[in-house]
């Protein structure tokens, strides 16, 4: 693996090396290093103000880092900025639009900025996939917020970038668009596009991302595959309500209770039967019994708390 790194097709989609950025006294990024291989669906998570957007902006050349280097598909975002930007499609977090133009004009102009003319076939495909066709000739001003968000996604895709970065694409977006959007993005990912996603909806990240980085106050506090993160920071749990009886030791001290709902973590499924037997023997009457899967929300909370303690 280590040896393959140097061959051209092992150049990662994104390489971030030792990047720091301060805004006045705020340390938005603090020595961030990160590699995202091609074809990955990568999640960038963190609380508000963690530095996610700053990192994306540095990749896109909108923010100049104080230290460190960034490369997209092996192209330095400063030294080789024009080639690097061709490789990158960014959906900005802020809902911005140019009020002078219709949806189609906006996309044609955006294509032109990348030096692409006669892009209508691809533009139509994007419009189709994002359910924007009915609004193709509507002025941007007249679109609803969710529609504007779709156009932002479309704008990021006009030049068929191999690397697509979505900064909270589903903030304030209805269920239908979320589903449409994810279907399209997953298809692009299946076609080989690298996807980087930030979101505060952790179940989205859990469902789609194969690897995740968690940022806190400009530092990476966790970076691993989604599976490993779930395994190391969250566990399966037996959840139930007690209709009668009391939890015996040692189960009682291992369990957590929240408004009547008990949660007993376990690692392997063969631990379940003995636990249930012990509960029965202690005279517990169980209600609403279910097995909870590890979830990213729990991982997130634990990672953030651990970072707090460190």
């Amino acid at each position: 693996m280590g040896r393959c790194r140097n061959t051209p097709f092992m150049i990662p989609a994104i390489r971030v090396a030792g990047v720091s950025k301060c805004f006045g006294a705020t340390r938005a990024l603090d020595d961030v290093s990160l590699e995202i291989p091609r074809g990955e669906f990568f999640g960038l998570l963190g609380p508000n103000g963690a530095g996610k957007t700053t990192l994306i902006s540095a990749l896109a050349g909108l923010v100049r880092p104080d230290a460190g280097r960034l490369a997209v598909m092996g192209l330095d975002v400063q030294a080789d900025y024009r080639s690097a930007r061709r490789q990158l499609g960014v959906v900005p977090q802020e809902l911005v639009f140019d009020p002078f133009f219709s949806v189609r004009e906006t996309l044609r102009i955006q294509s032109g900025y990348f030096g692409i003319r006669d892009n209508d076939a691809w533009i139509d495909e994007i419009l189709e996939n994002l359910d924007l066709m009915p609004k193709a000739d509507a002025n941007m001003r007249t679109l609803s917020g969710g529609m504007k968000r779709r156009v932002l996604v479309a704008q990021a895709l006009v030049h068929r970038p191999p690397v697509i970065v979505l900064d909270e694409p589903t903030a304030g977006v209805d269920v239908e668009l979320r589903q449409t959007l994810w279907r399209f993005i997953r298809r692009l990912n299946a076609d080989g596009h690298t996807i980087v996603l930030t979101t505060h909806y952790l179940e989205e990240a859990e469902n789609f991302c194969t690897r995740i980085a968690m940022l806190k106050q400009g530092r990476i506090v966790a970076l691993d595959s989604t599976r490993n993160l779930l395994r190391s920071f969250s566990a399966h749990a037996l959840r139930f309500r007690l209709a009668g009886g009391r939890l015996p030791e040692p189960l009682a001290s291992a369990a957590k209770e929240e408004s009547g709902l008990w949660s007993l973590p376990f690692d392997r499924f063969d631990e379940v039967a003995p636990v249930l037997a012990a509960l029965r023997d202690a005279g517990c009457v169980l209600e609403d019994l279910e097995i909870g899967k590890p979830d990213l929300e729990e991982v997130f909370v634990r990672v953030m708390n651990r970072a707090e303690a460190a």
Binding site: G61, L62, R86, L88, V90, D98, F100, F101, Y113
Partner: protein, 250 residues
């Protein structure tokens, strides 16, 4: 289509879609100036031996070119900065010289549109010669280019619309009004003649006027040198700012 031609096209489309405000309104303003000043002063003033209204027209045309060139690049930039849509031109691989050229190019085109409009309308009121048309074109383009470039600087620098208004009120307006649009500098007291000699806008208007009458306060070659030097200096400054990403890339 390259990034440059698209950005130029988009910038032209931006003002052309609202041509009523961006072209027709300034033409009307210039006409009002002409009506009022020429009506009041026609009887009393002759400059360089031409009737005052004839003298005034090229000045008004050039003033319109300059002000609208400045307005175009500066307002477009500040608007897209304030709304955030500036990211659409910052994300693509548009080089900074192309960025500069597109904004300035559109500014010159807007300036020329308005200037032409003013000229056509005022031809009804005043008789004009076209002694040296090449000079007319050269000064209109260079003047528009200078003010378009200044507009890029102001648009990048200003964070709010009122800062832009300050730039316009305290720099652009005094420079244009004290440049001999409404008078020949030879009619000024010596001190103000000296001051005018340091005002680059004076040379733009004087050179432009030479194209019409073949007469001017300064030699057109000297004016060309001053205006050309201004254009090169300001453009170099703007390119340096854009290259550093000044206020555009944090």
């Amino acid at each position: 289509m390259s990034g440059f031609s698209t950005l130029l096209y988009k910038e032209v489309l931006r003002f052309w879609k609202v041509a009523f405000q961006t072209v027709a309104a300034p033409v009307l303003t210039a006409m009002l100036y002409l009506l009022i000043f020429s009506h009041v002063l026609e009887e009393h003033v002759q400059v360089h031996g031409v009737a005052y209204s004839s003298f005034l027209v090229p000045g008004l045309v050039m003033m319109s070119v300059l002000q609208n060139a400045f307005a175009n690049s500066s307002s477009s930039l500040i608007q897209s900065k304030v709304t955030g849509s500036i990211v659409f031109v910052l994300l693509p691989p548009i080089s900074y010289p192309a960025f500069w050229a597109a904004y300035v190019g559109a500014a010159v085109i807007r300036g020329l549109c308005v200037g032409l409009g003013v000229l056509l309308v005022t031809l009804w009121f005043a008789r004009l010669g076209f002694e040296a048309p090449a000079w007319i074109l050269v000064f209109a383009i260079l003047g528009g280019g200078i003010l378009g470039t200044l507009g890029v600087i102001a648009g990048i620098w200003a964070d709010k619309f009122d800062q832009l208004a300050a730039f316009q009120n305290f720099l652009i307006m005094p420079l244009t009004f004290l440049s001999g649009v409404f008078y020949s500098v030879h009619s000024l007291p010596p001190f103000w003649q000296q001051v005018s000699a340091w005002n680059p806008v004076f040379y733009m208007i004087d050179g432009f006027r030479y194209g019409f009458f073949g007469i001017s306060d300064a030699s057109p070659w000297k004016s060309l040198a001053v205006v050309g030097a201004c254009f090169v200096t300001l453009s170099a400054l703007t390119l340096a700012l854009l290259r550093r990403g000044y206020k555009l890339r944090a």
